[in-house]
């Protein structure tokens, strides 16, 4: 299943017609189902249209001699300052109409394939109309024109596709490593012998050499203490017997 993230780097190429037939077919199929990508394609086509429409007219050959002469006089410090008309900045596009004189506006950009669902069609953007750009359009175009990726960057974009896939593998490996570290840390606790709280079998009473009594204090005066050790059985014990017995 091709996702938007997979196709996003190819949208600019689709608008420019740079994709192979197979890729273009895949993108077109995706656009029929995805309103968001369709919107991106529309925006890029609009931006392309506006930029192409503002392209300055070609300079006639006979004017080049005049331009050269004026440049020379300007470099020498005399004569009028040469004003070269360059491609206008996009801010100047705030004019409500597009230039209609010299540069012939290119053909209306092809509409991306429309979604077959009626709901998608309603949710889609308004159709593009040449010459009726809203005043806020340049900013919007400028903002969205970031989506236009330089052609040289496209292979890198495809590489990013691979990196995204690798990122999942890296996450999985990281999670496994963390789980392993936790398991190693907890293993000694979990592998504690289960007999830890089992009763000690009453099979071995302490002998004299098993016990060293360091201190005895008997607070009850009604009892006498009997140290019971070192007899025949060699069992060590401390008994109390009533004093009045």
């Amino acid at each position: 299943m091709i996702t938007c993230d997979d196709l996003r780097p190819m949208l600019a190429g689709y608008v420019d017609g740079q994709l192979s037939a197979l890729e273009a077919e895949a993108v077109a199929a995706h656009l029929q189902q995805c309103g968001r990508c369709r919107q991106i394609v529309r925006d890029q086509q609009q931006a392309q249209y506006v930029l192409d429409a503002d392209r300055p007219a070609a300079v006639p050959d006979e004017r080049w001699a005049d331009i050269g002469k004026r440049l020379r006089t300007e470099l020498e410090g005399t004569g009028d300052r040469l004003v070269l008309k360059t491609r206008c900045r996009i801010e100047t596009l705030s004019a409500p109409t597009l230039p209609t004189e010299e540069p012939r506006p290119p053909a209306r950009p092809p509409e991306p394939p429309s979604c077959p669902k009626p709901a998608c069609r309603q949710a889609g953007p308004e159709p593009f109309r040449a010459g009726t750009i809203q005043p806020s359009q340049p900013e919007r175009l400028l903002r969205r024109s970031r989506l236009l990726r330089p052609r040289a960057a496209r292979p890198a974009a495809r590489l990013r596709l691979g990196k995204a896939r690798f990122a999942w593998a890296a996450h999985a490996i990281g999670a496994l490593a963390a789980a392993l570290a936790i398991a190693i840390g907890l293993a000694p606790l979990l592998l504690q012998p289960s007999t830890a709280t089992q009763a000690i079998e009453p099979g071995a009473l302490a002998r004299a050499d098993d016990v060293t009594i360091m201190d005895i204090q008997t607070m009850d005066p009604h009892y006498n203490v009997v140290l019971y050790a070192g007899d025949a059985a060699d069992v060590a014990a401390v008994w109390v017997v009533p004093a009045n017995r």
């Binding site: 990281g174 963390a178 570290a181 936790i182 190693i184 840390g185 907890l186 000694p188 606790l189 504690q192 830890a196 709280t197 089992q198 009763a199 000690i200 079998e201 009453p202 099979g203 071995a204 009473l205 302490a206 002998r207 098993d210 016990v211 060293t212 009594i213 360091m214 201190d215 005895i216 204090q217 008997t218 607070m219 009850d220 009892y223 203490v225 009997v226 019971y228 059985a233 069992v235 060590a236 014990a237 401390v238 008994w239 109390v240 017997v241 009533p242």
Partner: protein
């Protein structure tokens, strides 16, 4: 791009720190568990009756019990707990008697214990001794309405 790298670094850093904290916590818990000892206390009700009776669970130490002036021995309590070194645990017996056991020190093959006999909060006797691991130490002889209460303490 930079912020994405930072986010990834932060995410991995947090995961690493969490794992480290878990491992250290487990190690700490393990170290604490190693400093605890397993203590078993048997409460024995000794009486004198016309016929001898020794609880089957006490048969292995019957010969030693017979040295006392009683001939019937019944196991009234048997409890095993893990007690951390330096902490006191109470093992209740009968008729208000109880044994307080406090492991003081753990050596390679023996433990130092403080054993305190109490009756309804009143200290009767306190002993500090070193006992070989796994060996039972007998003490008691405190009077009951009938007979006496003995205690056998072992630790490992």
């Amino acid at each position: 791009m930079q912020s994405a790298t930072n986010r990834r670094l932060k995410r991995w850093g947090m995961a690493g720190l969490s794992a480290l904290a878990l491992v250290l916590g487990a190690r700490s818990a393990l170290a604490q568990a190693e400093e605890a000892v397993t203590v078993t206390v048997l409460g024995i009700h000794a009486t004198t009756e016309p016929t001898e009776h020794i609880d089957p669970a006490l048969r292995p130490i019957a010969d030693e019990l017979r040295r006392s002036s009683y001939n019937c021995f019944r196991l009234v309590t048997s409890a095993t707990r893990r007690i951390a070194v330096g902490e006191t645990s109470e093992f209740a017996m009968v008729e208000g008697y109880a044994l307080h056991i406090r492991p003081e020190k753990v050596d390679e093959d023996s433990l130092q214990l403080t054993i305190t006999w109490v009756q309804e909060g009143r200290i009767l006797q306190r002993m500090t001794l070193a006992l070989r691991k796994g060996k039972y130490f007998l003490s008691g002889g405190w009077r009951l309405k009938e007979g006496a209460i003995l205690g056998a303490v072992a630790a490992q």
